[in-house]
Symmetry: C2
Subunit: 222 residues, 2 copies
């Protein structure tokens, strides 16, 4: 393994260990010693990549907005749905995503590091605008307001689902949320063509390795 590649890998291991502990007990309660033990790296390696605990928090938040794994679709609204379904599937499995949300809802962490919500809203507003220009979205829809509501409601479903007794499958809950919201967003002829289900979330997740390989190949040939 080349030296640079090894450094990238170590950085990733540290960040994932930090994210896992932030997610379990919150940013404030986490110590560097716990992160060192979990990542199984030296203090020197950790401080080389992340001079402070705050840099670890910022590193986690940097990866919070992602459309990785979402392929172009005939309907732009399907892409929007796929973004939400895929994150719903990944979040309970990936501490980096889960910790970013945990830090956003924590008052102390949020005051210190801000949140990824404005970036999410901007991303979704863009998708909604393109969908509207194609006639997929109802004419009276206010794109930034709907994007804001989508981010809020997605967040709420995650937070409350996690806090309720019993088992609630996040992709199924997010599919239900989208099914309830879409009649007020999508044009009727488009609505019936959209696929919104927990099984689509699983399908998108299983497709990610292929998506990654194709993306890497496309980048290599540029």
């Amino acid at each position: 393994m080349a030296q640079q590649e090894r450094a990238i890998r170590t950085r990733r291991i540290i960040l994932e260990a930090a994210a896992a502990i932030f997610d379990e007990q919150g940013y404030e309660a986490t110590t560097i010693a716990e992160i060192l033990a979990r990542a199984d790296v030296t203090k020197g390696a950790l401080y080389f990549h992340f001079p402070s605990k705050g840099d670890l928090a910022r590193g986690v938040l940097d990866g919070a907005v992602t459309t990785d794994g979402v392929r172009p679709q005939a309907l732009k609204l399907q892409e929007l749905i796929d973004v939400f379904l895929l994150i719903a599937y990944r979040l309970p499995r990936e501490p980096m995503l889960s910790a970013a949300l945990r830090m956003a809802i924590d008052l102390q962490s949020r005051r210190r590091f801000g949140t990824a919500w404005p970036d999410w809203i901007e991303l979704l507003t863009g998708i909604l605008r393109e969908a509207k220009s194609r006639g997929e979205v109802l004419p009276h829809v206010d794109e930034p307001a709907v994007a804001r509501t989508l981010v809020s409601t997605w967040t709420g479903v995650r937070v409350v689902t996690e806090g309720l007794p019993g088992e609630h499958d996040l992709p199924a809950e997010i599919a239900l949320l989208l099914q309830l919201l879409l009649p007020a967003i999508a044009a009727p002829t488009v609505l019936t063509r959209l696929e919104v289900s927990a099984s689509r979330a699983a399908f998108l997740y299983e497709d990610m390795p292929a998506w990654r390989a194709e993306t890497a190949e496309a980048e290599a040939t540029v």
Copy 2:
């Protein structure tokens, strides 16, 4: 003032002081000394009503589920809307309500004290069932699932709205949320008769003193 009345008043002052500080900095970071200073009561009075900090948290959570101020309406769905609009108006103004939500989304507090979410879901499921029996709700609607989504999305709008830069009026954001969700819940003929606006939230709030006086009078004559 009768002695019992004074005790009730003191209890309320302590609880509101505790709620205000829980809301500002979280349950964990709050000290009894801070609550004493804010409430301006003696240590003896505080410990008489609340033997521990945990009792204060439970006292705050006990008042989190409320339909106070909601009058019976011709449409049961309007009552459901009124519950949400009124809480949206009250929450930023009443630390007791705001602190209960803050403790519910905090991992540590939630593990210790639970949340009011199951009680909210039960309450809303009941209203939805009655609305459905009157033909106000679309036949395929799953009442507990929709009640769960209503609680989740309401919570998410509060949490994200508070964390976004700029000013966002909670009643207006909740009105938008309900406008987006209701087409998938209400029967079409009912939908057009529902009043969902930030101004209705303000109207309901201004009606509360009258509602309280009438409720107290009705109770006195029982």
